[in-house]
Symmetry: C2
């Protein structure tokens, strides 16, 4: 039996998990394809730490387990790229920069299969890397880049081939979901919940990418590319984070039997793709409302098979690593087959501004507490031909009132125009910018 | 581009759905692999009805769309088996009998790939068919046989290869789940709910296999075979249906924040596999409790990646057909690769009597309404070294009392021994056989 040799570049949280699983499961992995999957080499700057943390034999590390300088590491990486015996490279260095992009492309040009968990790299600089994989007829596995352990990439690639995906909605960022869950369950405000998330290791010291929807957007871009064949950039994707979610929003959500979640949403409609990342009020009848804590979930609506929901761990060392190992096995099994996956999609779809897409919305107004405000706001909304579903109980606090209006499906543009008219009619009445949150059924 | 020719045998609800999707998606399917997937031939006795129902061009049917006698159909099937141009056969005739078993084996011997939705056939007679596929190096796709549209087979085969499944629990039968949901939501008794299920097309005129757990057991046998490499028979698998679930059981479930579901359960423990199909009280904190109506769901606990849940349509014409088409695409993409899937598992696991497996149980007693009964039952339970969690409120009705006892994890054998002692101590006190239901957290 011929060996299928794997090199891991970067042996931190995820790369170390890959090495650990490959060593523990070596017997099963040998029997999982016609080639004997073998962990050959690891390159890691802090090798001595990785040896200890993941209990990996030092001899697997280039340099024998000693810490490496950047120059040494680069030299070992170059050796691996030249090594005809290495079949597949796992990139778990992370980061979206020229170095990692060039590395990924070089792996492909060297004729080696590439597996990565690097969502930022693929979302921001993926076009060149997918192209390099295609030209060199190597496989590019990135199951671990979207929702950690949840096999969402392979489900789209290999299981929805007898169907057409019509919409995707998902909770793709565990940190923000943990924060929202704490606000919901424990009555915390955003900053308390964020602090707790940091203390419990669910959020980084700099949590920007998690709470501003950037990380979730990276994943949604990859899902849209795969499901609809459309390449979009971070700039094109409408995005809002959870920084401005307040206790009262959580309460308004409860009033309409919903929970606030940071939702990644994409839908195909009339040959166009609409997509957004933003907090939504998810109705309790939708499974996504029940997904709490750091768990991730993706919901598909397909043309023939209807609704699918996948729930699982979105992050974690071994959780993410298990997806990488599955990609390695898949490559060992099938990668010398012609690569169908990079074919052009039959129907070219256009990506379109989410502001023209119809959602039901909940609009929360903070106003002066004077008579006539409900009349003013509902009149302006009505003039934009938006049907109103319900108007909430008005909360009076000192001189201000807070109330929310639930609309029937309409575009964000209509809502914005209605708010503009409220401002024009009575420039001083709004005490803050009204909050507009889509409702997901 | 070379054609990949498909023949469908049996064009009823599922086979017709396959033909419909293949025709509607023909362009996408052409681009989905290096071979052009093509629906070549259909054999169906009631061809004229199928032509109309699924809007399939008559010329695709052997016999040009005219109804066939059994002899004619068999002759056409024989032609297909001899036809070197046919690459894959879809068996959607159904039934677990000698004819279909021999047909499936003949397809493999003819060197053609086989795709089937026939869970009964594979669960009851699968050993010979899996063996025939292995010997002849053809692929055997059966995604549609377990949970219709949910890609559970491919998830185990291709996505959990970097992990080890430790337990499976699932709602694998939509009919029984629909009935239990109606009992739960609408307060119906079993017979009313069954009648409604039949009226709404969720249950057959003869619903035996759905309500006695037989259909669910077929699917669990296939999952156990795939996940743990153990072949078990219907006779070996402990099984109980939902026929005896009463309104009061639903109420007791609510009391402990749970819902009654027909659960397929299998767990690996100390190198042995424990499995059962039976109604369980599923705690509301478990996602399976929220799966209502005819929906199916499977929950995995894996060694490295933790909890996974897949939810989707468990039945339906196009839903099931979409899984079959995905299996066709997978075969067209990869099937000339060496077939890893039928390799022997590294660790041979033993299948063991579920009576020795520890669950928490809820035991419901219907007794004479006389003092001392709670003392008698709890004493007998304590003597079997079973720890009691809670004793429910005692419901008095005329001369009888109904109450339930929730235990800490113990074996079914311990429970049975406790009940035996109650009977011995006071032979007349029990008005019916106590109901013993596992609790799933």
């Amino acid at each position: 039996m011929k060996d299928f040799n794997v090199a891991i570049l970067g042996c931190g949280t995820v790369g170390g998990g890959v090495a650990k699983i490959m060593l523990e499961m070596s017997e099963q992995l040998s029997g999982s394809s016609t080639r004997r999957i073998h962990l050959s080499k690891i390159v890691e700057l802090s090798a001595s730490e990785a040896v200890e943390r993941f209990e990996i034999p030092a001899h697997i590390f280039c340099g024998g387990g000693k810490d490496l300088s950047k120059e040494e590491a680069n030299r070992y990486i170059e050796e691996i790229l030249q090594d005809k015996n290495i079949d597949l490279v796992v990139e778990t260095i992370g980061g979206s920069n020229d170095f990692v992009e060039n590395l990924a492309i070089s792996v492909c040009h060297a004729g080696k299969h590439l597996v990565t968990a690097n969502k930022a790299l693929l979302a921001e600089r993926g076009v060149s890397i997918f192209e390099a994989a295609k030209i060199n007829k190597v496989s590019l596995g990135y199951e671990a880049a979207v929702c950690g352990a949840i096999p969402v990439i392979k489900t789209i690639k290999e299981s929805f081939t007898g169907d057409q995906i019509e919409s995707i909605s998902g909770i793709l960022n565990g940190t923000s979901n943990y924060i929202l869950t704490m606000m919901q369950h424990e009555g915390m405000d955003f900053h308390e919940a964020l602090k707790l998330a940091q203390e419990n290791g669910y959020a980084e010291a700099d949590p920007t990418l998690d709470i501003d929807g950037g990380d979730a957007a990276h994943k949604l871009i990859l899902l849209i590319r795969l499901a609809f064949g459309v390449n979009i950039t971070m700039e094109e994707l409408a995005r809002m984070g959870i920084q401005n979610i307040k206790k009262e929003d959580i309460e308004f959500a409860s009033e309409i039997n919903a929970k606030i979640k940071l939702i990644c949403f994409a839908q195909k409609l009339d040959g166009k793709i609409y997509a957004t990342v933003c907090p939504m009020m998810v109705k309790n009848s939708n499974f996504l409302a029940e997904v709490s804590g750091a768990t991730n979930a993706v919901r598909f609506l397909n043309k023939y098979s209807g609704r699918h929901i996948l729930i699982g761990a979105g992050a974690g060392s071994l959780e993410t690593a298990s997806s990488i190992v599955a990609d390695i096995v898949f490559a060992a099994r099938y990668a010398d087959r012609a690569l169908h996956e990079e074919k052009e999609k039959v129907a070219k779809l256009q990506f379109t501004d989410a502001r023209h897409f119809k959602f039901p919305y909940i609009i929360t107004f903070e106003t002066e507490d004077i008579p006539g405000i409900t009349g003013l706001t509902t009149t302006c909304i009505g003039k934009q031909k938006i049907n109103i579903d319900t108007v909430s109980h008005n909360r009076h606090e000192k001189d201000r009132a807070i109330f929310s209006i639930v609309t029937m499906p309409c575009t964000l543009r209509q809502v914005e125009d209605a708010i503009l008219e409220v401002k024009e009619k009575n420039p001083s009445v709004l005490l803050s910018e009204p909050k507009v949150i889509p409702i997901l059924y």
